[in-house]
């Protein structure tokens, strides 16, 4: 009985130490990261699904819905290369600038119009959360806002 108690006690303390160690290493390496993050194309429309390192079911659903709209409603633009679909982890050290660039507070979809390597116009579509599992309403919302950014 005492052996089981001690095994549980030290097992849990080990898990605590490993968790804190993992968090420390991750935080340290994030602060000293020098890698190159996701680069957006220099020209065209980019539809980006931003997500955190841990993806919840709702976050995955947002990504799936947006990808479906891009493929079904903007298939021609996608094939011609005028539109690009991206999935970006905004918590990855080299991608953290996107948080400030587009004011990201949680998993979301951002539509950007790019020209000569710079953003010309962009919209963050946070209302995807209001239309979650909404089917046609989500599709209509995404399509409407992607269309708005596509207009020159």
């Amino acid at each position: 009985m005492k052996l089981a108690f001690n095994l549980t006690r030290y097992g849990l303390l080990t898990l605590v130490a490993v968790s804190l160690g993992t968090w420390s290493v991750r935080t340290f390496s994030s602060a000293h990261a020098t890698g190159v993050g996701e680069m957006l194309p220099a020209e065209g429309i980019v539809v980006i699904n931003f997500h955190a390192a841990t993806r919840c079911n709702a976050c995955r659903e947002i990504g799936t819905a947006a990808h479906t709209v891009v493929e079904k409603d903007f298939g021609d633009q996608l094939k011609s290369g005028r539109m690009t679909w991206r999935v970006i982890n905004f918590e990855a050290p080299a991608n953290k600038h996107f948080v400030q660039d587009y004011g990201i507070t949680t998993s979301t979809v951002v539509v950007v119009r790019r020209k000569d390597g710079s953003d010309v116009a962009w919209q963050r579509l946070d209302a995807v959360w209001d239309h979650l599992f909404g089917g046609p309403a989500m599709r209509a919302y995404l399509k409407e806002h992607i269309d708005q950014i596509m207009l020159p």
Partner: protein, 228 residues
């Protein structure tokens, strides 16, 4: 009035979203543990302290952002990235402390009274408020969307940096408040059955400790170590 109701509703939605639901279940265990140490008329106190802690945390965040001290994206990103990973070892340690598993520390409330026991129980009550405050700072994508995406714009629109976030906090503690209220009502109504309730409380102490440990271990494996 509609804005205040909306704030409360958004808080309720937050309470049942994945991360806050897990922490609220952990809090119910903790609140149950410290409710039994109080007099019959004060059973609700730990639950109320927990809700106050949550309300205070959201009010502070609301104030910090509306005063422009920090940007919502930066704060949201920081809290989502770090707080969950810091919370899971804390839950395991608090659970272990409740069970008397931390080397060199007595378990909370054990030992049949005395000054040390009373001190530990008072510490437990402060812990309820602290727990509410810390749990409120652990954001997941859904709760971040509700707070930063829906609640804060509402607070700004209504020019209510305090009341709207505070009501959101109360709503987000609803499961714990309902539990504390049910516990208080059942105790008052129990009357003759009070002795039976006291014997039931013998298993509440270890159950609450194991509940905190189980949730802490799950969060640690899922959110920090990302094993599944």
């Amino acid at each position: 009035m509609a804005a205040l109701a909306a704030a409360l509703w958004l808080g309720l939605l937050t309470a049942i979203s994945p991360c806050p639901l897990a922490t609220n279940i952990a809090a119910i265990g903790y609140v149950a543990r410290f409710s039994q140490g109080n007099g019959r008329g004060r059973t609700w106190l730990p639950g109320l302290l927990y809700a106050s802690g949550r309300a205070l945390a959201y009010t502070v965040i609301g104030g910090v952002i509306t005063w422009g001290l920090l940007s919502a994206p930066l704060l949201s990103s920081f809290l989502q990235e770090h707080m969950n990973q810091l919370l899971d070892p804390l839950l395991v340690l608090v659970g272990m402390a409740l069970l008397g598993m931390l080397p060199g520390l007595p378990s909370f409330g054990k030992g049949g009274g005395g000054a040390l026991n009373e001190k530990l129980m008072s510490l437990g009550l402060v812990g309820c408020a602290l727990m509410g405050f810390v749990f409120a700072l652990t954001f997941c994508p859904v709760s971040a969307a509700l707070f930063f995406g829906s609640l804060l714009p509402l607070a700004v629109k209504e020019q209510s940096a305090w009341l709207v976030p505070a009501l959101f906090g109360v709503g987000s503690a609803a499961p714990v408040l309902v539990f504390a209220l049910a516990l208080a009502v059942s105790r008052e109504a129990a009357g003759r059955a009070y002795q039976r309730l006291q014997s039931a409380e013998r298993w509440i102490a270890p159950a609450s400790g194991w509940l905190l440990i189980a949730i802490g271990v799950w969060m640690s494996l899922h959110l920090t170590l990302r094993l599944f």
